[in-house]
Assembly symmetry: C2
Homo-oligomer: 306 residues x 2
């Protein structure tokens, strides 16, 4: 059963520097990247907060794709701002500045249309907030959660409570190891599964993604690109493509989760091809479907031993 | 056309320490790992040098599998010895000691049966030696070469000459970037291809392997393991499985190279399950074929966009 997809997370203004250029006053934030990706697949409803300095006209493309931005609340003060730099190892962001600004007082209140969403993505925010959102959603069919080292270290108890309430955990490889306190990735994923979720998706940057569920493992590579300009938001774009596909198909079987992960990987590969939202903004579903098929070509080999 | 497979490289005595244990006086060396893997697939002929301290009886299992050890020459002095340590990040070996010993004077002279081999693997040795071996091989059908940062930095000119003479280059990800002087892996592989080889295989440790050829890219994951005890020799075991499969099938088409890479990945995944050659020594072809099929399960997803 397909349905609307709720995302709650951050909307930010980023300043990003990579070896290939820089961009100040770039749109950013986990929930915004997620929305841009998911809106190619399914009706998305975004809940987040911005400040008085946020250029609302620049997210008009999301509304044109059918995203519901009524939950994008404007508060007094400045928008959440992140400044970061990447070296030639584009897998690792070096945070130079973080100003939470209006995000510090963020306490999402869901409108009826938000509460009724069957698909929910709790982007990387305080696990207390993630739980407060879950408390308000009426009858979710599938809930996924992302997190980061900051919450793993600082709010472990609350994070574990949140994880016990969701269907899927989505996180980076290093975070999975840190969260499970286990250097072996397979065992780390199994430990996280033992806390309640049915699935764990481990994002590995340029190495792709892995999916773990009971008795089930899937490995997808990242799409090999000759040019990577800005990896900011790749993980949230991945999650948006994956969740958008799941919400649009309404099929939560392992085989369809595999497809969803490949769609997420395809979306992420487009995102890194240009700064901020430049590539996602002009991306079409046909381009994504075409890259999905390229993933098949990239990975296939004959089953017979020969 | 299938045929015999020649490998020239090092045979060593290793002292290895990992978080899970240690082993002194362990068998090691690139050519020995390669031979152990390839001998499950094809007739292998090993050319290497050992010292008076080498326990020849411990490689009897290779002869039992049909490997030709007549080129394993004993010289006066001690065997090449390597001492290394791995931390929890098993992707990176920390070399504690290297003693070349008899390996320093290694200058392979090939017997007629060696010279006639159609398949050749030049394991990670001085590129001058790799070329000297190539000079002696009569009419090779397929030659692959491995290398490492030491030669990339110290013997670049000779290494580029050797690369121009082979069909395939096999190397680690960081080495590919260093060799091509190009941080982007896709462009690094293309640059190496432009120097002459038809294919480049990039080994990525726990992230698997990629294969690049003209207009062709293939990505294979590593097999997810709950227990990794000792990654020593994984790269050479990979190469042995891959080349052994190619030599046994005689099919050098891209689709078969994909299969060969999966067989190499399967072999490598067994090797790391125990110290030194303990797992490879008792490994059977049926176990490898079974893991090959598990790789299919690990990576497959439906082609239709859904």
């Amino acid at each position: 059963m397909s349905g609307d997809l709720l995302v709650v997370g951050s909307v930010a203004i980023d300043a990003v520097e990579t070896p290939f250029g820089r961009e100040d006053e770039a749109l950013g934030g986990s929930a915004l990247y997620f929305t841009a990706a998911a809106s190619l697949f399914a009706p998305v409803r975004l809940v987040a907060v911005v400040g008085e300095d946020f250029p609302t006209e620049r997210v008009a493309f999301l509304a044109e794709r059918g995203a519901d931005l009524s939950g994008l609340v404007r508060a007094e003060g400045r928008t959440f701002r992140w400044k970061g730099r990447y070296g030639f190892d584009l897998n690792e962001a070096h945070t130079l500045e973080t100003h939470l600004n209006v995000f510090e007082g963020f306490s999402p209140e869901l409108a009826p249309a938000h509460r009724a969403c069957p698909y929910v993505f709790l982007a990387n925010i305080d696990p207390d907030l993630q739980q407060r959102v879950l408390d308000q959603v009426e009858d979710p069919r599938f809930v996924a959660l992302d997190t980061m080292n900051f919450w793993i270290e600082g709010k472990r108890r609350s994070l574990l409570d949140a994880i016990a309430r969701v269907d899927m955990v989505v996180l980076n490889e290093a975070e999975a190891r840190m969260l499970a306190e286990e250097p072996n990735l397979v065992r780390a994923a199994q430990k996280i599964l033992s806390w309640g979720p049915n699935g764990v998706v481990v994002k590995r940057g340029e190495y792709g993604a892995m999916y773990f569920a009971d008795g089930h493992v899937f490995a997808a590579p990242a799409f090999p690109l000759e040019e990577v300009f800005d990896p900011t938001g790749a993980g949230d774009t991945f999650a948006g493509g994956m969740m958008g596909y799941l919400a649009s198909t309404g099929n939560l079987e392992p085989d369809n989760i595999r497809r969803a992960i490949v769609f997420g990987s395809a979306m992420a590969s487009f995102n890194v091809e240009d700064f901020s939202f430049r590539r996602l903004e002009r991306l079409t579903y046909d381009e994504v479907a075409s890259r999905y098929r390229q993933f098949k070509t990239l990975t296939e080999f004959e089953a017979e031993v020969g």
